[in-house]
Symmetry: C2
DNA sequence: GATTAGCACTCGGAGCAGCGGAGTGCTAAT
DNA sequence: ATTAGCACTCCGCTGCTCCGAGTGCTAATC
């Protein structure tokens, strides 16, 4: 099973995949024969297709139906047959215009980008993940927010803002808060939230030796604020797009499973996990994707940098039968756009 | 058409509605005859049903099918026939447990409540809206957030936190920021964001006469931060629940329209708009709902108070054929829970 | 030897008839 | 006023045929 293809086989496979992407119907030998630039009769095509089937790139839903690409077929197509295009000019312009308009806050920009990607793809649902805890911090700010509450506002270098409300903190004067602030910022300098948490815990042990009660309080307080591992932000855009796909619209069970999965943040994060490390683009076809039980969805995703390190990932989730030649440049471009926008901050 | 019902008619209507809610199938006279406590033969029931049909409470999908309640039928049921129950004990407990666990921040609580409501209802999708701009403020805090950026953190008395990033602000010393903060808080005291915006604009005119440049700057800056009308926060939970309903699962077109609508914040806000004013519960059945084009969904919603005034609304969106006797107490209870939790802050 | 025309074969889906059942409305009996 | 009885309606299921798209194989052709 599976193996290298000669040129003719590759061309036939390419046509089958592309036609299937377009029509969502099994593709017959006549169709391919007409589509191919090199003229070959349907009979010849049939022979080639039979070979491709033996190699595991195609299957027949039943005898006397056309062929449908398998996961391996799509894989081969994506790896070797896909013409790698740049994103089309007008679409690049749309992105640029949007980036110009989007306000200063990082999460606003991410939301806009994902919305645009979803509209342009029309195939699938776009998901963006931003892992806050590994972004280098810009500043921490403690605020009084009521009689017994203080608010810790966290700003990362990428321009992400998050806040934690801490309850049951009484008797901190404005002066105390100022001092704690200064201390925390000194501690945090250049670290990520994750690293800071470690440092605070270490510091707490040492500081106990000394007798600075305020600093001790500061450490306890921030340890409390940071104890819940900071959640990964997840944005999902264009859920309704998947209804556009005939393969899902027909099978409500499948649809239900997918939509349910999308309500779980953790599932989405797992889907994009791979790309949260490097910023190369990743294509997971069908059962290759990291989440079990969804053999008919593909994920095209890419990490993006927020500042120095890759902390976010944008991904497009759709049917295996998606238009990779359009989708891949789209995701690639938007990830690069996010990275470069955050760089200039 | 439509009119008052005698007792027997009402009982029959009640049974038709309840049976239809349960089965989603047209209800026949035999079924009702068996279900009714007062024994009546199917033939009698048929006569009564024919009357109810004339009055507009029931329809037949076709001759020789059972009857289905119309919008008016459901309306009558909800207004006069529904046994108003309290929420069941175990469910109340679930809410209490959750409220105890939920962290301090308001939006976390709201999210948890909507999630629980969605799980308990299993029928529909829950939506929560919180209108920030009419909540009385607790404090405003300006923070430095980079070389040319400042961050305005807004905390309302209900415990809601929001922030706005303002770009292109250079040359403000820490001292300046402190002064601006004090000034803004004095200005904001007890006002809502909406009122504050008005006050700032008025103040700006007067302040021009005076020559305090820093205060002028403060006003300009906050005016900029508040110029975009603060968006209404919208949380949607349990979208996939609507797939559970046979009436939608069968009609993909309808489903698509509904899911698309849910991607638009504005549509959701319009659906709950009515209840954003008072805190009474509202039931919009079918085409009664404020958004045109969705004649087969109902909305059960109630406002809740965040502090003094009603600024939020929790609503349940589902098929017209929903179990109002379960849903209404559920929504009522959760709205009251939100109000009372926010009161004790 | 590769390609192709020809042909028999397979299989799914559309279309149609027939039937059974659930439900109705009407009439006549209680 | 209620109800038993009955004829009637209509939906949806089942089974049937027919059609077409597509295949694999074989034999003829380049």
């Amino acid at each position: 099973m599976t193996g290298a293809l000669d040129d003719r086989g590759a061309q036939v496979l390419r046509h089958v995949v592309e036609d299937y992407i377009e029509t969502a119907e099994p593709v017959g030998s006549r169709t391919i024969s007409k589509r191919m630039e090199q003229h070959l009769s349907p009979a010849t095509i049939r022979n080639i297709m039979a070979d491709l089937e033996e190699m595991g790139y195609l299957v027949q839903p039943h005898t006397s139906a056309g062929r449908v690409p398998t996961g391996a077929g799509f894989r081969y197509y994506v790896d070797y047959l896909l013409a790698r295009r740049r994103l089309a000019r007008p679409q690049r312009d749309q992105f640029q215009r949007m980036a110009g308009e989007a306000g200063g806050s990082a999460d606003e920009l991410v939301r806009q980008v994902s919305r645009l990607v979803s509209t342009l793809s029309r195939q699938a649902c776009v998901v963006v993940v931003a892992r806050l805890s590994s972004q280098p911090l810009r500043s921490l700010n403690l605020l009084r927010a009521g009689a017994d509450k203080v608010l810790l506002v966290i700003v990362t270098q990428g321009g992400w803002v998050e806040h934690r409300l801490i309850e049951g903190e009484t008797g901190l004067s404005g002066d105390d808060i100022g001092k704690i602030n200064a201390y925390l910022n000194e501690l945090a300098d250049g670290l990520s939230l994750h690293e800071l948490r470690g440092k605070i815990l270490r510091e707490m042990k040492q500081e106990k030796a000394r007798y600075d009660r305020l600093m001790q309080r500061a450490l306890q307080l921030s340890a409390r604020a940071l104890e819940e591992s900071s959640p990964t932000e997840v944005y999902v855009e264009g859920r309704a797009n998947i209804l556009e796909q005939p393969e899902f619209a027909e099978d409500v069970q499948k649809l239900k499973r997918i939509l349910r999965a999308f309500e779980e943040k953790s599932v989405i994060v797992r889907l994009l996990d791979r790309t949260l490390e490097g910023d190369a683009i990743q294509v997971s076809i069908g059962s290759e994707n990291p989440v079990e039980g969804f053999p008919d969805i593909s994920v095209v995703s890419s990490g993006y940098r927020l500042g120095e390190s890759v902390t976010g990932s944008i991904g497009l989730i759709g049917p295996v039968r998606m238009d990779y030649s359009r989708i891949i440049p789209l995701v690639e471009y938007s990830a690069r756009l996010l990275s470069s926008t955050f760089e200039h901050r």
